[in-house]
Symmetry: D3
Subunit: 278 residues, 6 copies
């Protein structure tokens, strides 16, 4: 789900941000006609995310850069793996290097951490969902990184789904009224989700015709009961306080989805470097 | 170091990113003339960074939002502390909420983690430096968060300092030649730093007139020797593999600066929420 | 579904487009401190759409403009009805006038024409859907105009739903395989629609788990058979060659949705003028 | 009058608008390395306008798209005519298709309708003029479409001519004073037009030195009298309520120009499709 | 001819350019709540141009700045005259100061120099014209400055007039053919100018129906002859190598316009300062 | 110090500014498939600055333009020297010509004038510094032109150095306190300069640890005394009222830097033309 066209605008902003007026060191020290070749390589085992956008950072800054991509996003690679090789004007490579590394380190960090949660779900029917708790400005790339790690995307933005929470329900008086109001105007291919923190609410949401029901911070027992009661008539999403060591137990209640922002908000950047190709 | 004028452009991009076409839920469910008041509060003890930019997210989206700021950036607050109170059109508050939280959670995470490193330096003369390993698009805000945590900023971008590394030195044949070349054209208020990984290089860089000398991945013994030899004639920056449990030993060698990207690349977002003000 | 924040960026582009270097006539002929009051009024009976964006054109160009809105979008008004009154610097009113009128004339034209189709569906259960055949640059405003006229929005953009057509199905070999592939990665709140032009395809799409099935250019008899067979297990959308004089017959087959681009692609702008308020 | 450089910025906005986060269907269903070839063809007889901008939509989104243009803007083509052939990555073709079609359908609609008015003027000396009543954001392209249909452009924007109306004249006290004020500061290659709705005003405008005199909503008799009196000393533009069935009578009064917004504000989009090239 | 709406976008770019990441000095040294009052004053006698845009620099950066404008653009003021007084947050005033001064110094320099040429024409009928030889990015503001100095604007851009030069004429074979080709498609309120460097060309251009004829680098004698021959049937513009000490002689030949880029390309910035208001 | 990536954004703005809606003359008169070759040449002896950006103007507008660069920025060339040759679509060359010339004329004017000041310093150790008094929007290009003329750049923007002036010192009570405050937070590679207009201040600034001391409008005698006292412990910058005929005497006092805005604010554009290559 990497759209180069959309990414180019971000890349422009990032490069301007790091370069400022101009790269003093590269312009002063590197001759305009010097060329170089660098390998970008993983310094730890990772799930790769961002090899395309990192490549585009170089070619956007200097179209004469030539890229050889060695892996694909979503691949699992070992320490030492070469992700891409870039050849071009040395000055440009040094100017663009930091921006290219910053983004691929962050995205691969998210993919790698996400995969740990996804691995914990193996053998259950539950799918991991990401959230909208992404870094401002990087929504689509971080959603892409989540997908590389094996998660399914939840809402891409406020326009890709209706999510009825306390405030919305309070306005309408009841879950029933809220779902009815939403149904009347929601775009034809968009689903409606209702956030519930008690079982009675799950009953009401199901009756009201919710497409997805969020079980928010419920006990395992309550989740299990909800699964039994709903019996596939709506999708069920467990949410709230999910951790790597608790996620499997949640999955085993039989819910369809488990959502967590942990991999996006807590994953450290992974170590990826750019070295001279000898 | 928060420049609202610069931040507004970022805020525009973030809001567009999250809203997409429009906030389906808020537009469908919340009446245009409903008003609300929310508190933004810390759900764990933190160093605050980003209360101004979070406030600006609300007012930029809807100028009728009124903000009461309860703390200042760089303040240390307890769990439960109210950071700001926002009053305005309910629809706008719900639309802008996620973006405001996403940024303050991340920036406060960086400030809080940075402060742990700074605390470890208490009583030594070493100052913590951040790096350019920031999230693409958030350079200035993350530099600001570092400063809120007590760090000093290293280069803001490629235009705010000359940093001579292996590649640049190789081009000129020697550190001496490289510093001379840089000195000839560097802007008048900008310093030159030389990256050294051996003591002989430190000697050459000092003689060449470097303003700052980076001791890159050196042993504590070598760092101590460099401090003794340089004796204040240039500033010394220790760098490479700095961790919270090793930083104090590095500081005790007598270096002026210790740089690390850890708080920017690994700090988890902290927990900050937005709740109805009853 | 009018998001002012998003609209302001469009308004800026429109004003720059019409003003060019500057409004020669207004700058030469109108004194900078002259003020004026104008009524914007309907010169024929219309369904209003765009009164907010028209008002914002004036205030965006000149924040000192004061607007009194007299009607709400989606209201049906008679010839002569005043839509809004604007008071402010005469020079600004004359400069912004044409842009404000151009947009409200077009949007109200779409709303008014859409309402004719919606009226034709009264008493049936079918809902009118718009399409992505909108004027480039005006997608959201034209979708809003459709909604003002009583239609439900179909996809807002390529990110708000999966639509499987011939090409996509051919890639996967069958509708069954195509739906399975889509289901594996589609965001959690997004539906999948399959375009069918034969009844066998409807059977396969239903079995494959499509959320919505498009009956593309089918005969009334086939549509009726599809309605009977599907029996509410998926939503059915009739599409292709819908006209005002044929739409009711289509609705009476029992389909859930009828989609047409006619009101967006063929509705003439309605007559709305700006006159001195005496 | 198609400036590619200017159009590219619009195309970027259009594509972002339709794609949103990303094209879910194309990204999920179409392999990244699949290629395809499509013909864009006219499904009814039309005057073509927009073949260049439609081609640029594809190449801007994906520079590897190869275009073979089969017709030129302003050509009259039959039903079934191929306008262009596009070959390239299938995913990109499907993503960009709707935007390319939307713009060429609209522009060709305007050109085709404009040509009907121009045909009605054949054999008279009157030239058809368009107006500033264009779709916000599409001014230049719609002006280009008008020209493709055979019309002459009136003002491109508020900076390309002085147009003195009631309000401006009232400020100065008389047409004479208003023209004098305008003449003093109008750029050297820009003309001054005066809007008149009575014959006395025509006399005054001519004496004042107006370059063009608009006969606004005048009777045929009055227009004819104005033509006789002015006798070529200024250009005369008939305006107001022009329809396809009345325009020739107006032309036969001997006016130089006849202006109408009808083809821009009322022309339906024409039917143009994109089909697999077998 | 100052359009604030258009200027704001430029001001944003200028401020970002000067501020970069942030104003280190103001942020470090000036308390956020300090306020100050400054006078902007002329340190030499000048024709003022840019007092509005300079004021807008302050208020755009910080909307709480209050401006008292003491003079109007195009006024002639003595050394020491206060142009405006600005009161607001001290930090903002110091950050925006340089940008505000840079633009008003440059624009007033152009206006002041332009006025010298205009003064030299007093008593003749010739009007001074500016050119398109303006600083990239400042076209409209420099055109405005020219007008403040008393000149008339020539083309605002390539869209505000047709100018037929050697290359264009060569394409068509003759001036006659070139004017005819242009006349067929030029917008209704736009004039056609022909550049001539020999008298025979003037004759041909007049016969062809040129609205304005440029006498390019002609001798005074030839210009006088052209004036006599043309006798008001087209406007005549003298151009080429005009200097302050030669312009009056050119005017006395009876031409209508004299164009020169000297005041735009050679005028030094005038001395305007910002001082504490005690 | 020319960064093409940064320049392209400026070039886009400049071209849009000059072209407006479209280049009427080129579009009407020049066939789309005509090609041409032009030489850009110096019509007087100059120091070239801007040959790269001028070339980029052509290729940015029309990528099919082919450029042969004949000189490098910072070269001194004689009258008649060809700077570049451009070959491509004639229509594009004529449309982009004025913008390309306007920028190279201005930048070369600055470089040429700067070189006169630099020449006057030959044999002294003083380096010429430019200032922030640049044309809004052209900072980096004018800084580049200064460097082409032999000057060293002073601050690139407000983020590339701390400059303590009267206002900042007053806030802190003393130079000593102000420098201490700045030192605590200034980025690690950034210097601090103190503006002094009396010798006592120089003493205090030196003791406070200023990196650079500005001698503002001091007498030659005072400057000489400051040089003797400071004795290399800080860099000294002479500033204020520097003229071409006084600069050498200032240099002979032994200061390190002499700063002046004269070449930027007063240099006339040099004469560079574009001619048919026969």
């Amino acid at each position: 789900m990497y759209d180069r066209f959309a990414a180019l605008r971000l890349i422009d902003d990032w490069l301007r941000e790091d370069i400022g007026a101009f790269d003093l060191t590269a312009q002063l020290m590197i001759d305009a006609d010097a060329v170089a070749t660098f390998h970008m390589n993983a310094r730890e085992p990772i799930i790769v995310a961002g090899v395309e956008v990192a490549a585009d950072v170089f070619t956007r800054y200097e179209p004469r850069c030539q890229i050889e991509r060695r892996v694909q996003d979503a691949e699992r690679v070992d320490q030492g793996a070469i992700l891409l090789t870039v050849h071009g004007p040395a000055r440009a490579l040094l100017t663009a290097e930091r921006t290219a590394l910053n983004i691929i380190q962050r995205l691969s960090g998210i993919a790698t951490e996400t995969a740990r949660y996804v691995d914990a779900l193996k053998g259950t029917k539950a799918r991991l969902l990401d959230t909208r708790k992404t870094t401002p400005g990087l929504r689509m790339l971080e959603k892409h990184a989540s997908a590389c790690g094996g998660a399914l995307n939840h809402r891409l933005g406020l326009d890709s789904g209706v999510m009825l929470k306390d405030n919305h329900i309070a306005v309408c008086g009841s879950i029933t009224a809220a779902v009815a109001r939403a149904r009347k105007a929601v775009p034809a291919l968009t689903k409606i989700e209702v956030e519930c923190d008690r079982l009675e609410q799950v009953h009401e949401a199901l009756a009201a015709g919710a497409d997805v029901i969020m079980l928010d911070n419920m006990s395992l027992a309550d989740m299990q009961e909800a699964v039994g009661f709903v019996a596939g008539r709506a999708a069920l999403e467990a949410s709230g306080g999910i951790r790597l060591n608790t996620i499997r137990a949640v999955a085993e209640t039989g819910v369809d989805f488990i959502s967590t922002s942990r991999p996006q908000q807590s994953a450290p950047s992974v170590d990826i470097g750019l070295d001279d190709a000898v």
